[in-house]
C-alpha cells in the first residue's frame, strides 16, 4: 500500500489530480451543502445560508412526537450490525474452513449450494420470511431480523473465507498435526492467524452492510422499540404531515458519520476483500 501511494516518477501527477478534482467537484459540493444545510437556515429560494442554527439537530436531545428516542434507535442499529458481524464471522470462518479443507461427504453439493444461495435475490423471499417469523413469534424483534440478515449474507462470507483458506499452505496444517495439535487447535492457532486480514475485512464489510440495511428491518421489525436508523430516517419523509427536510438531512449526516469513521480507519483492510490478497 505505502509504495503505491508514493508518487511514481514516470508520469506527472498534476494533470491526474486536476482531472479527478474536477470530476468529483459536484459530489464534494453536494456533501458540503448537506453539512452546511444541517446547521443553518437560508431564505426561501436562496442558496446562501442566512443564519446559524442547531435546531435541525434538536432530534438528538428532544423526542419528536410519534418517533422513538434517537439514542435507542442508534443503540438498536449498533446491536443489529454488531450481532450480524459476530454471527457471520463465527459461522463463515468455520464453514469456510470445513469447505476448504475437510473431506466431508457431499462437499461439492455444499459448495454449489453456497454459490447458488449467494446469487439468489433474497428480496423475493421476504414475504415467506415474514410469515415464518410471524409464526415463530420473532416478528418485530431484533433477534429475528438479525438471524434473517445474517443468513442472507452468510453465503458470501463463507465463499470469501473458503477462498482465503485455500491460499493457506497445506504443510502448515500437516506440521501442526504432526507436532501434536488437535485439528481444532490447528485451525484456531495456526490457520486462523494466517487469514487475519480477511477476517478483519469481512467483519468490517458485514458491519457496514448491517448498518445500512433497510428493507429487512423495515418489513420485519418496524416497531418503535426495535427501529434502526435507516427505518427511522425513512419514516421522517414518509410522514406527510410534518415534513421536515432539514431534520431529515441532519439525521442522514448523523447516520453516515460512523460509516465514515470506519472507512477512514480501516479502508486498508476493506480493500483486502476486493483485492483478494492476504497481504495485510
Amino acid at each position: 500500500m505505502s509504495e503505491q501511494s508514493k508518487v511514481s516518477a514516470n508520469f506527472s501527477s498534476l494533470p491526474v489530480i486536476l482531472l479527478l478534482g474536477l470530476v468529483s467537484l459536484p459530489l464534494v459540493l453536494m456533501y458540503a451543502y448537506l453539512l452546511l444545510d444541517t446547521v443553518s437556515n437560508s431564505e426561501a429560494g436562496s442558496l446562501i445560508p442566512s443564519e446559524f442554527t442547531l435546531e435541525h439537530w434538536s432530534f438528538l436531545w428532544q423526542m419528536k412526537p410519534g418517533k422513538p428516542n434517537i439514542w435507542l434507535v442508534t443503540l438498536n442499529t449498533f446491536i443489529f450490525a454488531s450481532c450480524i458481524t459476530a454471527v457471520i464471522l463465527i459461522v463463515s470462518s468455520m464453514a469456510g474452513y470445513v469447505l476448504s479443507r475437510l473431506n466431508l461427504p457431499a462437499r461439492g453439493f455444499f459448495l454449489a449450494g453456497v454459490m447458488v444461495l449467494h446469487a439468489f435475490p433474497s428480496v423475493t423471499l421476504i414475504i415467506a420470511i415474514f410469515i415464518v417469523l410471524q409464526y415463530i413469534g420473532l416478528y418485530n424483534s431484533l433477534v429475528g431480523v438479525i438471524l434473517v440478515k445474517s443468513a442472507i449474507d452468510l453465503p458470501l462470507g463463507i465463499w470469501l473465507m473458503k477462498g482465503f483458506y485455500d491460499t493457506v499452505p497445506w504443510e502448515i496444517e500437516m506440521a501442526g498435526i504432526v507436532d501434536g495439535a488437535s485439528r481444532f487447535a490447528v485451525w484456531r492457532r495456526l490457520v486462523l492467524p494466517q487469514i487475519k486480514p480477511a477476517i478483519m475485512a469481512l467483519g468490517l464489510f458485514s458491519f457496514l452492510t448491517g448498518w445500512s440495511e433497510f428493507i429487512l428491518p423495515q418489513v420485519l421489525a418496524p416497531g418503535a422499540h426495535v427501529q434502526v436508523l435507516s427505518v427511522y430516517l425513512a419514516s421522517l419523509i414518509a410522514d406527510d404531515n410534518n415534513f421536515d427536510f432539514a431534520t431529515f438531512k441532519a439525521v442522514g449526516v448523523f447516520y453516515v458519520i460512523p460509516v465514515l469513521i470506519l472507512y477512514v480507519f480501516f479502508q486498508k483492510h476493506l480493500m483486502n476483500i476486493y483485492g483478494g490478497g492476504t497481504k495485510g
Partner: protein
C-alpha cells in the same frame, strides 16, 4: 526405535501409488529413500507420520502397531520440504509449539527451546519471524522444531532442496551429526544421490512405488541389482551400451567391440544385453581397448570428463585426471576395465 512397514499399500482413489512395500529401518539407523520424482517417496513418509492412512498393510514403531494411530499419538518429528514454519510466530514460538500444545509450563518450554536452539546454532535468532531468516536458518528452525519433543522417529522430506551448494554441504554434515548425537531413527527423502550416499547408513532406491534395492551406499554402487539402480547412482552417471551375447562375451551389434565376461557363461548366443560402464572404468589402465572419437570434453578442475562416441554411434563417458592433450574431434584408443563392467539382461536385471 525400529520402523517396520509390512505389506504397506497406498492408493488415492483408483491410482495405486505404493503396492505391498516392505521396509525395515533399524533403531538409530538413517535411511535414504531415493528415487525419481513421483515415485511415492513423500507418500511413504506421510504414511509413516500418520498424515495418510495406508490402504492396507501395517506400520510398526518398535513392536507397537501404529497403523491406526493418529499423527498426534505417534511422536514423529517431520521436516517438510518447504519447512512449513508458522509465519505468525517467532522462532522461539515455532520451536516451542510442540511443547505448548502439550501444555508444558512456560519455564520448561523456554529451557528446552534454549537447549535445542544452541544445538542447531540459532540461539541468536529466537526473536525473529521466519520471514526474516535465510533458507538455511529456516531449515535449522524446522529441524529444531522436529527434534524438541525428542521424537522416536525423524522424517526429512528433501530438507536440503532449497539451499545453495555450500550451505547444503554444511547442512548435510550437521543433520548427520544431530542424528548421531540424538540416536534417533531417521528417514531422509531425496532425489539427490550424493546426499543419500554421504548422509545415510543405507539407501532404498524406489521406482514407481516399489523398492528396487536396499543396501549400503558402497554395496549399491558396486553391486547394483538392476540397470535402473546403476543408472541412478554415480556422478557423472554410468553409460550403457546395447549389444548381444556371443560365445560368452558381450559384442556390439556391428562387431566393433568384444568383451569376454565371466557372467555370460551359459547365456545363449544372440541374447540382447546391456553393458554398463562407469566413467572411472574407461580411460587409461583397462584391459580391453576401445577406439572412438571424443565429442565432448569438460574440465572439472582436478579431473576431466570426456564423451567418446564409438563407430556404431553409442557413447561412453570417461573421467580421468586432468590432462590437456585430448580435444573434441580427436580419435582416441582408450581401454575398458572388463572386471568392473556391469552386464544386464533385457529386463534390466543384473546377470
Amino acid at each position: 526405535m525400529r520402523i517396520l512397514l509390512d505389506k504397506f499399500s497406498k492408493s488415492f482413489g483408483a491410482t495405486k501409488v505404493i503396492e505391498d512395500m516392505d521396509l525395515n529401518v533399524g533403531s538409530g539407523e538413517m535411511l535414504a529413500l531415493l528415487g525419481p520424482s513421483g515415485c511415492g517417496k513423500s507418500t511413504t513418509l506421510f504414511a509413516i507420520c500418520g498424515i495418510h492412512r495406508p490402504t492396507s498393510g501395517r506400520i510398526l514403531f518398535g513392536n507397537r502397531d501404529v497403523t491406526s494411530l493418529s499423527s498426534q499419538e505417534r511422536n514423529v518429528g517431520v521436516v517438510f520440504q518447504s519447512y512449513a514454519l508458522y509465519p505468525h510466530m517467532t522462532v522461539a514460538e515455532n520451536i516451542g509449539f510442540p511443547l505448548t500444545v502439550r501444555r508444558m509450563t512456560a519455564a520448561e518450554i523456554n529451557k528446552r527451546v534454549a537447549e535445542i536452539a544452541a544445538l542447531v546454532h540459532i540461539d541468536n535468532l529466537l526473536d525473529r519471524k521466519p520471514s526474516q531468516l535465510s533458507g538455511g536458518q529456516q531449515q535449522r528452525v524446522a529441524l529444531a522444531r522436529a527434534l524438541i519433543r525428542r521424537p522416536d522417529v525423524l522424517l526429512l522430506d528433501e530438507p536440503l532442496a532449497n539451499l545453495d551448494a555450500k550451505l547444503r554441504l554444511e547442512m548435510r554434515s550437521e543433520i548427520r551429526r544431530l542424528q548421531k548425537e540424538t540416536g534417533i531413527t531417521a528417514i531422509l527423502v531425496t532425489h539427490d544421490q550424493v546426499e543419500a550416499m554421504s548422509m545415510c547408513d543405507r539407501i532404498a532406491i524406489m521406482k514407481a512405488g516399489e523398492i528396487v534395492q536396499i543396501a549400503t551406499p558402497s554395496e549399491m554402487y558396486n553391486d547394483p541389482r538392476t540397470a535402473f539402480v546403476a543408472g541412478f547412482l554415480g556422478n557423472p552417471p554410468i553409460s550403457f551400451l546395447t549389444g548381444r551375447a556371443k560365445q560368452g562375451a558381450f559384442a556390439l551389434d556391428d562387431g566393433g567391440l568384444k568383451l569376454p565376461l565371466a557372467a555370460l557363461s551359459g547365456i545363449p548366443d544372440g541374447t540382447a544385453l546391456t553393458l554398463g560402464i562407469r566413467p572411472e572404468h574407461f580411460g587409461i589402465g583397462g584391459d580391453v581397448p576401445v577406439e572412438g572419437k571424443v565429442t565432448f570434453a569438460e574440465t572439472q578442475g582436478r579431473e576431466n570428463l570426456y564423451d567418446v562416441v564409438l563407430p556404431d554411434g553409442s557413447a561412453l563417458r570417461s573421467i580421468q585426471p586432468a590432462r590437456s592433450d585430448v580435444k573434441p574431434g580427436d580419435s582416441v584408443r582408450w581401454s575398458l576395465d572388463s572386471k568392473a563392467a556391469l552386464v544386464f539382461g533385457e529386463d534390466g536385471r543384473r546377470l
